[in-house]
């Protein structure tokens, strides 16, 4: 998974022609850390259809707020730079992410 920050976000996500999945996370978010290994597995499984990236909101808060992310974990789907889906909440399960991936692949 690509590590995003304020320097490469535009190039890797907003100006990218295709489908991108961004995992917004933070070390202080227990649930983010719990689902991270599962998200990595999904990234391998769906590598043909999506580009997977992650963004540590620490140090990138303005960027996260700019993407309307104010709750962790947040899994945001982009298509050709447009935000098309935003999954979040403490009850977010890897299966929910899988369903969305399958629907959008």
């Amino acid at each position: 998974m690509i590590e995003l920050n304020k320097d490469n976000f535009e190039e890797e996500v907003l100006n990218f022609d295709g489908k991108v999945v961004v995992d917004f996370w933070s070390e202080s978010c227990d649930h983010c850390m719990e689902i991270m290994p599962e998200v990595k597995k999904l990234a391998e499984e769906f590598a043909d259809d999506f580009k997977f990236a992650k963004l540590d909101i620490k140090g990138n808060r303005r960027l996260a707020i700019g993407q309307k992310v104010l709750g962790l974990p947040s899994i945001v789907f982009y298509e050709n730079g447009e935000k098309v889906e935003h999954l979040s909440g403490e009850d977010l399960e890897p299966e929910d992410i899988r369903k969305e991936l399958e629907a959008r692949a």
């Binding site: 620490k58 707020i65 309307k68 992310v69 104010l70 709750g71 935003h86 979040s88």
Partner: protein, 401 residues
């Protein structure tokens, strides 16, 4: 096949984990089912923990981790699963989870706690995870240097606001009461009043949350004069009480009109072998220490329930010979006389199993067989009552045998 336990605890908060500590230490095969990934219940979403006796320096989540370690030390198993249904079939209780797992237990402790109350305000659902939050420790650092609004004025609202001031730029607390009046304890109120980052809007309620994709404004209404005003903010935290998680229990155990489980002082529900502890129970004081106390009580009750029930099953219901059961109490001389009379009759030699039930200690069996007066003598064959004698005469007993 479903696994069978002596004790299954529904919910891994302080009440449930205390039951597990007591249960597994008494050698009961104990399972804790927790719906969330992380155990610890409500305290695991809070920060400060200043009033748990004997542990002056700790945080809420650290204390909850210690509860879990303690339970595991005595052999408690932990599994993740959200309970869909509880069925009580006499001595067997069947628990089904949302993902299809099934468990069986001799006794069950309900410790499912309570969820944060939602007010149903316009925008509340829409902005969940986009500025609306119910958990300070989960989301605090997202709001670093931002302005937020807190709804509520009870203990958790004030405690969590004080914690949030370590992160945010400014907090506006919306308080429904007159200026200076809050539901929180005095000591907390004073801390909040002294805090430079906390401001108050009195006599007011939150009416709506507005924004483009994320929270940008809170609309507040003054309940005295009806005037509305808007507060610029990036987050709205709700701490407005909680509601019990008991939907799956409707029709299974008695609930209050607000959905709390009704129990006796011994944590018993109306179903034998099923107990309820902690915030899910109908009670007044809801603290970590009182939850832990509930949990301990229920586990001890569950243990004696299992012992009594197993004794009864082995010696009466599944016995190969008929049983004569005398219900007595030390406070009733007549019943004591009956016992000595029966003991002198050498019933075991006449092909009977003879049991004495102390009605003071063992209400479970007495209630099941509607024993209202003592002494009462029951003759039970293959689990069925063949005859019931209340205050029997000598002749009647002879006839029975």
């Amino acid at each position: 096949m479903s696994e069978k336990y002596d004790l299954i605890v529904l919910g891994g908060g302080p009440a449930g984990m205390s039951s597990a500590i007591y249960g597994s230490r008494s050698r009961l095969k104990t399972l804790v089912l927790e719906a969330k990934r992380k155990t610890g219940g409500q305290p695991s979403t809070y920060h400060d923990m200043e009033n748990y006796p004997g542990v002056p320096e700790t945080t809420a989540s650290e204390l909850m981790e210690n509860f879990r370690t303690h339970a595991e030390k005595f052999g408690t198993e932990f599994k993740k699963g959200e309970v869909k249904s509880l069925e009580v079939d006499g001595f067997e209780k069947i628990i089904k989870c949302k993902k299809g797992e099934e468990y069986r237990a001799k006794s069950v402790v309900i410790a499912t706690g309570a969820e944060p109350r939602k007010l149903g305000i316009k925008g509340e659902e829409e902005f969940k995870g986009k500025g609306v939050s119910y958990c300070a420790t989960c989301d605090a650092d997202l709001f670093t240097d931002l302005d937020i609004v807190v709804v509520g004025n009870g203990n958790s609202a004030v405690e969590e606001s004080i914690y949030l001031t370590k992160f945010v730029n400014k907090i506006t607390m919306i308080v429904i009461h007159d200026e200076g009046v809050m539901d929180a304890e005095k000591i907390l109120q004073e801390k909040a009043m002294e805090n430079d980052k906390i401001e108050f809007v009195w006599n007011s309620v939150l009416e709506e949350i507005k924004g483009e994709g994320i929270v940008e404004k809170a609309v507040v209404k003054n309940i005295k004069n009806g005037e509305k005003s808007e507060i610029d903010c990036s987050g709205v935290f709700f701490f407005v009480g909680r509601v019990p998680s008991t939907d799956f229990l409707e029709g299974v155990v008695d609930l209050t009109e607000h959905g709390y489980v009704k129990t006796t002082k011994q944590m018993e529900t109306n179903q034998p072998g099923v107990y309820a502890v902690g915030d899910v129970r109908n009670k007044v004081v809801r603290q970590v220490i009182t939850a832990a106390g509930d949990g301990a009580t229920a586990a001890v009750m569950a243990q004696s329930y299992i012992e009594e029930e197993e004794y009864w099953q082995n010696h009466v219901v599944n016995a190969d010979k008929p049983a004569l059961v005398a219900f007595w109490s030390v406070t009733d001389q007549e019943s004591m006389d009956l016992i000595s009379q029966l003991e002198a009759m050498e019933l075991e030699n006449k092909g009977y199993k003879f049991l004495k039930i102390d009605t003071y200690k063992n209400r479970l069996i007495s209630d099941r067989y509607d024993v209202e007066e003592i002494p009462t003598l029951l003759k039970i064959k293959a689990g069925e009552v063949v005859s019931k004698l209340v205050k029997p005469e000598k002749e009647e007993i002879k006839e029975l045998i």
